[in-house]
């Protein structure tokens, strides 16, 4: 078995009395698509926030590519190769589509502040290189025609794709996708699914939170099920589908299974 790209050990997160994530351990193998599912309030977003560095865990450890990351600042985790999208879309609405993706390229800037002040030229060259990279990404996702549009003017589906493109611009090794298909009509959800499948074929490791079960079942190699912040099952789609605890977690609320 190869070494896990992401390894989560006995992770806890407590918000004044509420245990959002309780003693959770799992790992993600390189090249895998792993989905995290569970009813609302299961702790999926909190888990993502802890991995990306938006929320600090109460206890436990997170390792990425062998490096312990749970105490690192967010940008440092981005430098190591973790990128994410947000459940409620956090694009830079007042900037253009192209600029949004260029900010994603930011990490690969080599020109420091001092050098930039002394040599404006280096900065301009770098800017135009990023412009090309960003444009190529937009082209790949059929957004090139919208490059100079202010991002806030895109349709909801386009914004979702843009956020994905921005995440990819940092050339991550692990992509955290928080409900990439939420709120999208089926056709656009399938477009996103296709993009994710293509990325994975090129070697991208993906951790996915999604309520669209069709998408989860068709994309993921394995599935982690959470309920009330706790691990209740993990495995292939078939395994999880038949697991009694999963059934009761999902269906228990609606009584008779």
């Amino acid at each position: 078995m190869s070494e896990a790209l992401l390894k989560v050990d006995s992770l806890n997160c407590q918000f004044s009395g509420l245990r959002a994530v309780a003693d959770l351990s799992f790992s993600v193998q390189p090249g895998a698509i792993k989905a995290v599912i569970g009813p609302n309030g299961a702790g999926k977003s909190t888990l993502f926030n802890m991995i990306a560095g938006v929320t600090a865990p109460t206890s436990g450890a997170i390792h990425f590519a062998g490096v312990r990351i749970d105490t690192l600042p967010t940008f440092r985790r981005a430098e190591l190769g973790i990128a994410r999208t947000f459940q409620n879309l956090q694009i830079f609405r007042e900037m253009t589509v192209l600029e949004n993706v260029m900010v994603g390229c930011h990490l690969h800037g080599k020109v420091g502040v001092v050098k930039a002040l002394l040599r404006g030229r280096a900065l301009r060259d770098e800017e135009s290189a990023f412009r090309d990279t960003a444009f190529a990404l937009l082209d790949r996702f059929n957004l090139a025609a919208k490059a100079d549009v202010v991002a806030g003017d895109l349709s909801f589906g386009q914004m979702k794709v843009l956020e994905l493109a921005r995440a990819l611009a940092s050339r991550p090794r692990l992509l955290l996708l928080d409900e990439p298909a939420a709120g999208l009509p089926q056709a656009e959800a399938e477009h996103i699914s296709q993009i994710i499948a293509d990325l994975n074929r090129d070697g991208m490791t993906v951790l996915l939170v999604e309520h669209n079960m069709r998408m989860v079942m068709s994309l993921s190699h394995d599935i982690l099920v959470l309920n009330n912040g706790q691990w209740i099952a993990e495995g292939t789609a078939d395994h999880v589908r038949r697991h009694p605890d999963v059934l009761s977690a999902y269906l228990g609320e609606t009584e008779h299974a």
């Binding site: 990306a52 981005a78 956090q90 830079f92 600029e99 260029m102 800037g109 502040v113 930039a116 995440a167």
Partner: protein, 293 residues
């Protein structure tokens, strides 16, 4: 002097003062953009720019060198200020940063008074000839320097924010802290950079205006309020807004003091400012959604 040339004369004076206000307003806008806060230490940097220039001029007798060095020194002071009072805040929010900036302003003023003294200081204008006569109106050459260097600085800022990756990163961090951090932007560094830029602009304003008005340790608050007003007038957070707001305020003061009363110069400007903000709460160029914090 007939009416036509009086108006021209006032126009020149208004544009000169307005440029200074624009520089200060830009400082407010840059810090606002990166933190959502009003930095009330902005005016103190104007004073420091003028007074440090004067001190350096007294020892070097080279105006260019003195002013450049002063602006650089004040930019470093801006960086230090951010590292000392903003960076240590564990969960920085706009209101908290605004509050500490008031403390920073008071401390800065005391330090300036203790180190640089209470006496107003000054130095000659940047050019040998102090006044030019063009078409019947007198223009102080320093006013030309003010307008020219303000334009250069604002243009450089425009290029920085629109055409460099670092400028975009700064805008991104301003728009959404978390999302910017996720894509690898060092948000704390962008905040530091915004303080450096704000201090640079403020110090430049101080170095430029001192030959005309002298500089003393207690002017910071007034400069701060004027720059803040100009920023609000133009639309807080908007780069072109700083120019429009600064010039509008400068012209209001020039015309108001000539046609109404110079005793009420500041009152007139603020009355008009209020009237405009009643009609357009987001400022002349501001968009309503820019103000949400």
């Amino acid at each position: 002097m007939h009416a036509g040339s009086a108006i021209l004369q006032l126009l020149v004076a208004g544009i000169g003062t307005g440029s200074i206000y624009a520089l200060i307003a830009l400082g407010f806008n840059v810090v606002f953009k990166s933190t959502g806060a009003m930095n009330f230490a902005q005016g103190e940097w104007v004073v420091m720019g003028g007074m440090i220039s004067a001190l350096l001029f007294a020892s070097t007798h080279n105006i260019g060198l003195a002013c450049i060095a002063a602006v650089v020194i004040v930019s470093v002071i801006g960086i230090l200020s951010e590292r000392l009072v903003v960076w240590p805040l564990r969960r920085p929010n706009a209101l908290l940063i605004t509050l500490v900036s008031i403390g920073l302003a008071i401390c800065s003023r005391s330090l300036v008074m203790m180190i640089l003294g209470k006496k107003p200081v000054g130095y000659p204008g940047f050019s040998e000839a102090s006044t030019l006569f063009v078409g019947g109106i007198a223009i102080q050459t320093q006013t030309l320097w003010i307008v020219g260097l303000t334009l250069v600085f604002l243009l450089a800022m425009h290029l920085f924010f629109e055409h460099t990756i670092m400028g975009k990163a700064l805008r991104a961090a301003a728009a959404d802290r978390d999302a910017a951090a996720i894509v690898g932007v060092r948000v704390e560094t962008t905040v530091m950079l915004s303080f450096a830029i704000a201090a640079f602009g403020g110090a430049l304003a101080g170095a430029l205006i001192t030959p005309l008005t002298l500089s003393s340790y207690d002017q910071g608050a007034l400069f701060g309020f004027k720059g803040f007003s100009a920023a609000m007038l133009g639309g807080i957070g908007s780069l072109p807004g700083a120019i429009v707001g600064g010039l509008a305020l400068g012209l209001l003061e020039a015309f108001g003091s000539f046609y109404i009363s110079s005793d009420f110069k500041d009152a007139i400007a603020f009355a008009v400012l209020l009237a405009i903000l009643f009609a357009r709460p987001a400022g002349l160029l501001g968009r309503a959604d820019v103000v949400k914090v």
